[in-house]
């Protein structure tokens, strides 16, 4: 009897809910309300512009004039343009060399930090500094370091007697390319090192103990334990790194602006130069779209690397 009475009390409380709060307890409505802001923003300012960009690539739109459909004309023009080919070459070269440099040095730094060190958390904080400071501002510092007349690196080399003249960092094509790659590696090392350090810390020490008992060498422990255990994280971090290095813009724009004589244009800086100051939006969009195949490749790589692990919000928690 008493249970029924309590039931009634409970029902009455539920009735006190207003219509609005009832609506918010209705799951489909609640889900829709929760997803609306995020998906709305992403749809309007990400998915739609992505489609619009592809459409613009097939038109001759300029600033202030909406374009006509011109088919593949922009792409045909692009394929005959030596500057575009040069940008493709430099984008691939820049990404390739910078990724190898970043991951080689980053992995080394992560292995160093994985030792028992004093002030470890402070070290970690200091090492991340190049990553959090705005890229453009550090790029300006590099621009000053690479100054043809007052470069501090040249000064050190001359003082040490290794050279007699200033190093020409950014005024001829190849030195400029290497200087940009150097700055990119400098900025990328902290992210790689800290991410890989997180991966290293998840490897159980008992694996190393077992390997030590079996008489393994340091290299064998790295090759057969550390590296395979690190591979899933390495794959994800590398995908992100490749995507964001390939589409890099800030560093090149701040240090060389694509010069000297267009030799250091990346696809992104070339697209910007043609599209915004040049006004040729259609052509710029075509150049930007030409980055997509590379990105799709990198994304598929990431997806399959992720799919090998348990999907994050999958039913089974690991």
């Amino acid at each position: 009897m008493s249970a029924v009475a309590e039931d009634k009390v409970w029902v009455r409380q539920a009735k006190a809910q207003s219509a609005l709060s009832k609506l918010f307890d209705w799951k489909p409505f609640l889900v829709a309300m929760c997803m609306l802001p995020a998906l709305g923003l992403l749809f309007v300012f990400l998915t739609y512009p992505l489609g619009l960009g592809i459409w613009l690539a097939f038109t001759d739109t300029t600033i202030g004039r909406s374009g006509r459909w011109v088919g593949l004309e922009n792409f045909e023009y692009m394929l005959e343009d030596p500057i575009w080919w040069n940008a493709v070459f430099f984008s691939v070269f820049y990404t390739g060399v910078a990724t190898i440099g970043k991951f080689g040095l980053g992995l080394w730094l992560a292995l160093l930090l994985n030792n028992h060190l004093p002030f470890k958390s402070m070290l970690r904080a200091i090492i991340l500094l190049p990553w959090i400071v705005p890229t453009v501002l550090t790029a300006i510092a590099f621009w000053w370091i690479y100054n043809p007349q007052f470069s501090i690196i040249s000064w050190i080399f001359i003082e040490l007697g290794l050279r007699t003249t200033n190093i020409d960092f950014i005024n001829t094509a190849w030195p400029a390319r290497w200087s940009l790659i150097g700055a990119n590696i400098w900025r990328g090392i902290p992210f790689v090192a800290i991410s890989l350090l997180a991966g290293l810390q998840t490897i159980s020490p008992s694996l190393y103990e077992a390997a030590l008992l079996d008489g393994s060498t340091g290299w064998q422990r790295f090759r057969y334990i550390t590296f395979p255990m690190l591979l899933p994280i390495l794959a994800i971090v590398m995908t992100f790194s490749i995507i964001f290095t390939f589409t890099d813009f800030q560093l090149v724009y701040a240090i060389t602006r694509g010069g000297p004589v267009n030799s250091t244009h990346l696809l992104a800086t070339l697209a910007f130069q043609r599209g915004i100051p040049g006004g040729q939006l259609g052509e710029g969009a075509a150049i930007a779209v030409s980055m997509i195949p590379f990105l799709v490749f990198a994304t598929l790589f990431s997806y399959f690397a992720l799919a090998r692990r348990k999907w994050q919000q999958g039913e089974s928690n690991d």
Binding site: A14, F24, K27, L30, C34, P37, L39, L41, L42, F45, T47, P49, L50, L52, G53, L109, N115, H116, R124, I127, L128, L129, P130, I132, V133, P134, T135, V136, L137, I140, W144, I145, N147, I152, W155, W186, I189, S195, A198, T202, P205, G218, I233, I236, I243, F249, Q250, Y253, A254, G275, I276, A288, M291, L295, T299, W311, Q312, Q313, G314, N317
Partner: protein, 299 residues
């Protein structure tokens, strides 16, 4: 001497699992501390150089022969004074701050709701929405800025900080959602079940139970969003025309770099001041930042 200390060293080393492979102090010195010191010097040198240039008088700045370039003999505040009173720098800082804070709040709000819905409400297809949001993070701004520039122009938002506030969430929301899904997953579902049995509505649960428990996650996502917005360059360069609406990174590169003679002192002072807010903000929450960075990769 060394023969007596070495075995002790080995004993001490074997006591700790992390150092078990190292057999002597010198070897440890050469293989760990020396490379680490080199890394630190190289990683920090540009900041040191930036700082020292910002306080050097021009006479020392362009003369390495009579003054040691690594030190300042007579530090000056001229460059900073020029920057603060001779240019619109305070205004640029203000704009950047407003844009970063608004974009951060907007993306935190929407990604909290989205992450809650994906992780806790578990509707049909929520996995695929999660995957789609993750993929959105892989779309770089470099391929979006041209179509976005035309959209911003048509919406009448060209040259307005509002355009940046609306556009920045596109790269902030995917990251924050991803991070918060991970945090919500770590909160026991039983707590919510108890609240549901006690008759709380879903929104009450989110506001009074889940969110207070997810505060570390929210802080991480907030710091990350703030620094990413502060660093953003290409959208701000493409959408903003007038000097007073520019953000710090864009303004330094387009307003301070004029003509053939660069004011290196002022440029470095501007870079230093522009980096400081992020660096200070970061130093307060460094553990959250590191955990968000590594957590996002590990998840």
């Amino acid at each position: 001497m060394s023969a007596t200390t070495e075995p002790q060293q080995t004993n001490a080393a074997t006591a700790q699992p992390e150092t078990m492979t190292w057999d002597s102090k010198t070897r440890r010195m050469v293989t760990i501390y020396v490379p680490l010191a080199c890394f630190l010097i190289i990683l920090l040198f540009p900041f040191y150089w930036m700082t020292i240039t910002a306080f050097k008088p021009n006479a020392e700045l362009y003369d390495y022969n009579t003054h040691n370039p690594f030190w300042i003999t007579s530090p000056t505040l001229d460059h900073i004074r020029l920057l603060l009173f001779g240019t619109a720098y305070p205004r640029w800082l203000m704009t950047t701050m407003i844009v970063s804070v608004c974009a951060t709040v907007l993306s935190l709000l929407s990604s909290t709701l989205a992450a809650y819905a994906i992780q806790r409400l578990r509707y049909k297809g929520s996995q695929y929405v999660g995957l789609a949001i993750y993929l959105a993070y892989l779309v770089p701004p470099s391929i979006l800025f041209i179509p976005l520039a035309t959209m911003v122009f048509q919406l009448g938002l060209f040259d307005s900080p509002l355009a940046l506030i609306l556009v920045y969430p596109t790269f902030l929301i995917p990251f924050c959602t991803w991070l918060l899904i991970g945090y919500f997953k770590s909160i026991p579902f039983e707590l919510e079940e108890c609240a549901l049995i006690d008759g709380a509505t879903r929104l009450q649960i989110l506001w009074q139970i889940t969110l207070p428990l997810a505060v570390p996650g929210l802080i991480s996502a907030g710091i990350f969003s703030f620094t990413l917005s502060w660093n953003e360059f290409i959208y701000a360069l493409a959408f903003i025309q007038s000097s007073e609406n520019k953000t710090v990174p864009v303004a330094i590169l387009t307003e301070l770099v004029t003509g053939d003679v660069y004011q290196w002192g002022a440029l470095m002072a501007g870079s230093l001041l522009g980096s400081l807010p992020v660096a200070i903000f970061y130093s307060f929450f460094v553990d959250y930042y590191v955990s968000s960075l590594t957590g996002a990769v590990k998840e």
